[in-house]
Subunit: 337 residues, 6 copies
């Protein structure tokens, strides 16, 4: 069944009639001690808004309290000055799981995921070192792994927090590392590119992203660095004669790619490629994070974003306007020198 109404397209005074995820359900008894109202949120991959279902009959309270997905009918009756809406619900009926395309409820990358994977495959083909290529192939020739890798998010919140985010992030890090290995003749390209491809593979087990995006228990208890080390260790075990000292280098580089103890790396980067990988990872995480914030503030008519806790600052949003306008302004001018 195709979803037609997306949360981020709703506006004041329009009718609602579609399937939404239900969250934060709460029941309240009115002063008459009989009438019960239901307060909750309706959500999909584009966002969530407040909803109220007035006067729920007592025999439905328990059933309604457990709904995950429902056909919702209602009307948008409130808009706050910060632009958030509120729905008054007139009808609510649970939806059978099989009728759902969960992708409507999970945010998606705007990139073509197959093309991203193709870029990674061709990078793997370009590796000349026998052992490293072998290691990469042992992962990416495995279609179960590849399928999971392709859909994994890169993070839950900060950067590329959507289906396909990990593939996007990996391609960006690989691209930066390619440039870096061109600049410094002392840098071993094969090793750096291999590690750029593998550095975050543990995220396919750190996150669950089939029906909802969330941390797995394994993700919370171990984290993607430890999971990645284990995945690498098992693959190498299965390979023919992967050199022990190269294995240590691979693992050290994965272990240390967060660059600092306080970000969960138990070792500091001590190999040339490891320090480069750390900054390539950091570059994409932070630049993508900034872009994410700017995207989220697109309809916010201010020159500065709200305070971003993980950056301890606001972001300047007026940049493009200044750079674009000024070009136009200057268009009539004479050629420079």
């Amino acid at each position: 069944m195709e979803k037609k109404q997306m949360v981020n397209n709703l506006s004041l005074n329009t009718r609602i009639n579609d399937i939404f995820m239900l969250k934060h359900i709460e029941f309240r008894v009115r002063r008459d001690k009989r009438t019960v109202d239901m307060f909750f949120k309706i959500a999909d991959k584009t966002g969530e808004i407040e909803a109220i279902n007035w006067d729920v009959s007592n025999d439905k309270v328990e059933k309604f309290g457990k709904i995950k997905f429902a056909q919702v009918q209602g009307h948008i009756t409130k808009k706050k000055s910060d632009g958030t809406l509120q729905v008054t619900v007139s009808s609510l009926s649970e939806t059978a799981p099989l009728d759902l395309d969960y992708s409507d409820y999970l945010p998606q990358s705007k990139e073509n995921l197959d093309e991203l994977m193709q870029k990674i495959f061709s990078k793997i083909d370009s590796i000349e070192n026998y052992h490293l290529k072998n290691l990469l192939k042992s992962f990416f020739n495995d279609s179960e792994f590849t399928e999971k890798f392709k859909r994994a998010p890169a993070a839950m919140k900060v950067h590329q927090p959507y289906i396909g985010g990990l593939a996007e992030h990996t391609v960006n890090v690989v691209t930066i590392c390619e440039t870096v290995s061109n600049i410094y003749k002392e840098m071993n390209r094969d090793f750096l590119i291999t590690m750029a491809i593998l550095h975050d593979i543990g995220k396919i087990r750190e996150y669950a992203y089939d029906k909802a995006m969330e941390h797995t228990d394994e993700g919370k208890l171990l984290g993607h660095i430890t999971i990645g080390i284990e995945m690498i260790g098992q693959k190498i075990k299965s390979l023919d004669s992967f050199p022990k000292d190269l294995e240590l280098m691979v693992k050290h580089t994965l272990l240390s790619h967060h660059g600092h103890f306080e970000f969960g790396s138990p070792r500091l980067p001590s190999i040339l490629a490891a320090i480069a990988l750390h900054y390539a990872d950091e570059m994409d995480a932070k630049v993508s994070g900034f872009i994410n914030i700017k995207e989220g503030n697109k309809n916010f008519k201010e020159k500065w974003s709200k305070w971003i806790w993980w950056l301890e600052r606001s972001i300047y949003l007026d940049e493009e306007a200044i750079l674009k306008n000024k070009v136009n302004e200057a268009e009539g001018k004479l050629e420079l020198e």
Copy 2:
């Protein structure tokens, strides 16, 4: 007069006869209360070693104590287990400043500095934004500025600490930023490349590098970030109609490029290009720093460098050996797949 003996080519039991810089001079009276010995170091752009001049006549003590450069004759008579040498000096005579090519005494980039500058010039030509191009030209069309920029070191110790280092560093940062602006369509290339070129211009006044490489008083009292802000401010004043809000963006991006308060940036990067510039700068500084350490440990027959205080770690030196050998080892093997 051409220098023939370089410190890093000297070895145990060879004769010394060339001009060297003199450092750390000290005189000692022997037990006979008459004989005075002179202990010091001889140095050039490749390094420094300990030297002793036995039995200096009393009337020469004051004169010898002030020598900066001298023709030194002697013999290498001691080698420690860590490879450091000691010279016994037989003759010492001051050298007239005019006879010297100071470049023998200042470390030099291995790159062709004219080619580096050419790369920067062609990047400037590629900028389309009228105002930014104008700003860049106002600096790089000024030959006094360009000459200083070309020879400046990038730092005193950690990365590219030699004549031409700033040009090397700038080209590397620009190259990384070019890749970054290709990856993210939201990134304004003109602005990012402009700031990559300008971010460290304050270093031409932070350091002195004519006869010796050292911090200037201005460098110590203000630092290259504040100096750079001032240089930019003055240039913009001299330009025709540089937009005020663009000026603020340029200055903010220069101010914040160290990325953290504790590294001397009084503002945190709050513009998309500013965060990218910070990591590009960090990437080249740290990767070049690692390469610098590996270079300095080239003759050190260990798998790990000595402890590096500014990194709080040792660096693994065995990397290339492992990556190279393993390729060969595997050469006889069958084609993969």
Copy 3:
């Protein structure tokens, strides 16, 4: 038109009829899907309280949503246990900007601003060093600068956050520095007093304070330290023969007056007067901040203030009571010894 009702004088069950600033406006549709209510805040220089305008006709929603200042009629109908009030509004009409005395809406210093400026002028007269006096006069003989300086706040929140706050803060810092230069014969009084007067001049551009008090873009992107450096640099350029090394000292002292990297000083105080200026600035900022908190808790009937986030502590409010009462208590006692 004179303002008669100030927010901090309002109380439960009184009538409202005056001009207020409007903030945080929000409209809500009732369950009947027709009636729209308007929730907002009314504010002036003394504070702000919640307001509700019930049943707004649909054709006024857009217009009301944009009001900045309005003639408000209504009734205070709610008081919470923490003392905050709520107004039920009966009539609302926009006010023409020209009719307003904005000073009713901006908090003001309790000091006489002309007297504060007079104190600064006479300090300037007392400077003997030709160049420093010249520099000070170049600022304070400029009436545009002086007018802005006189009205600037010292901060947005923490200390002296009101019109005239910068002049107050400057006079306090100068007074402390005068004492300090008396104590230490090694301290150069002229230099310390000059820097005490100039240290925060950048705040006249960091903040806007004509119609509302807020950070300017320049303030957010550069900060008052960098702005101050630029103002000083330009003035010195316009002066006849200001010594270069004295300029470096002046700039270093301004740059470093926050005393720590994490407070936005890109250099640490390295000149005797710079370290003294830092602590004089810190002394007034913190003591005035404490007084500000005590003022804000004047009607709070507790011995301890609420938790103050920027101090990471509560402030003890009972101090004066203890010191005053005890004196009285002891009054009957015999002379000491």
Copy 4:
């Protein structure tokens, strides 16, 4: 061949004649440009002292430079005020590796290692949980593992830095955990004791301790936490049906036992037993570290130890004297109460 002279028993003016490890070898040419002297250190498991071999013939320099162990004859000719000695060597001849009992050169625990292992075995027997006991047995029934575990040091410097140190440390941590599991009924004893036994097993590969005690490359590149995770993972793979969620708990507890990111734990303890294990580990590491310092200062006639860098403090040494004397002093006194 039995070692008779131990470094810590040597004193001023005695003769030396035994086998020692040689360290820090350095050769110096005298002023006559012919005579070469050899400066080095002689060491065994009890410590090291400076040594000089005067006038080494030129043809022996290369050979002597490579000696690891030698029969040394000489005389102790110098004692510094801090008690350190210097040997003048008269004869030096290399020792064949096979003639050596390396245990003379590696510091040893004072405990009976077999008894320590017995304590661990009996703890394993006491575990009731089938899977945990199984996991423990899979390690400790493997004699190669057990042999390595028994001899491993607990650290290189700070606490129990000697053969058998890991077994000592493990027994202490287990003992503390036993008490802790008695105190809190909510604590699962089996799980806590199991983790106390396993928490540091990675150290058998982090350190080499056959002929010398030092970090392995694996130890430096990965650290004992990551090594331990890998060892556990492989063992569990080999076990029959170890529950997946229990495996995550085991690994989380091992990962987090350092308790803080900056000490190399990539996760913070989030399971009740994990927080207890962290403090039990910390308790033994720090208390044993203090005892180690007191031991090292036994002959130092001061009330305070030298400054200990890793503790950022000096240790008070006079404690026992005060507590013992005072008991005696009071002995004559009447019964209390």
Copy 5:
């Protein structure tokens, strides 16, 4: 009068009729400008829930605003999805202080406090050092002190925040210290146990816990460490010939037991027993804190607790389930080995 209804036993749709503490009282005038409603919380030692008293007559507002304890009649009319309830109150009448058993309103330890004290007394009896035993007896033979000690909480929030908590905490710390003094023969048992008993005595003045549990002014202004130092100093003054150097050791160990400056210890532990005491204290505080969190999440049907600010993490709650089930699961299996 016996309390029958406890907050943590209330559920949706039940009647309320008992005495509760009243908190956060607030009055609101309705739109009719006449009717006043009263919003507040009702609380006892087991928790607190929201309450509303509709339509309070004007003449009762002032009186109701000051009620501390009241007989409350009403009905639970609302349950949120996070399980919190709301009461609609029908009748409210103040309760005379004398009618109250305050212990119904203060949380209590589940341990038998007399037994805890007995454990401490018998530990004191076991001390052999005359002076230390004397010091302990001077406190614990004083029934006023002992009574306060027995009822004091160990903290306001984090660990053992209930009547009897200090005794519980002290017994736990003593038990851990007993084990520690058994492990290390270098540890002076008498001193360590004495300090374990005395380390937190200052808490009897840091907290008030007669009618409500809260910090005293002395607690906020000085803290329990400084209070404890003072209590010890005064007792020792009253004792016969307590040795001065032992007094310094006692005070240092109390001063430093928080182990770090940022936790309020003005000295770092520099005596062997002091470092042991610190970790014993930390062990019980953190383990008890974890147990406290698990207790608080008992009815929370999730595998992870909410975010705990003071630990900067969530706690895993599923532990016991995994450990218990797995034992059962494995029950059918064959004997191990």
Copy 6:
């Protein structure tokens, strides 16, 4: 016996003949295995230099090793490039303690100590609050206390590290506080001045300064803050009716005067006067510290001091030259305006 030669007046090639303190004594046996040389340092209140006593007869080794003060005859035979000297000693004989004026060996304030004390006494007289004046008098009417206070140093190294330093520091802090209490009408002058006088009294027991300046055991184990609290507590006990809440304020202000946990204050300043006292203390400590550094670099012909570890920076030394010269330079100029 009067000391004639002070260490800081000695120069190369002069004869030594006076009493000095002996430090760091070490004996060395020469290659002949008979001759013993003695290496040590000679010191007085102005500094210390290296000394060698060649060929000490064996029977004198033990005796010489214990000398604290000796009549030393010799010759300055070595000067290093950093200006440090070395003495060759010809004769050495121990000095009887009674013959010594220890003040020659302890550095002294340049201020008149009686005048400093007079300033404090007159401040005490100016206090109007009965209880605070009473408390101050209870200390300063006690001549044993006053005598110790007058001679105590303010610190061991950083600021005013000499006899009389505490009195100097106290007078400076009082002077700053007097100004501060004039500026802010909200500040209670009596309380602030009282605390300025009392804040560091614990230093009279933290340091020993009769025959040498060093930390006492009490100083190391407790610190001057805890000692001060105890001294205040005991005095107040002895006073008639000192109010309890005023006592808490006095103690809190003393406890918190270091302003930060990491500097050993177990509480943060939470009283208005406490925050002022902290900055007044910090102001004098840091400004006096800077002056101390400048004094120590008086003969160092550089524009920048050596690196100062406790400040993490170098200090600019050229300040006065620039300020003085520039005045002269400008002297010929016309009157300003």
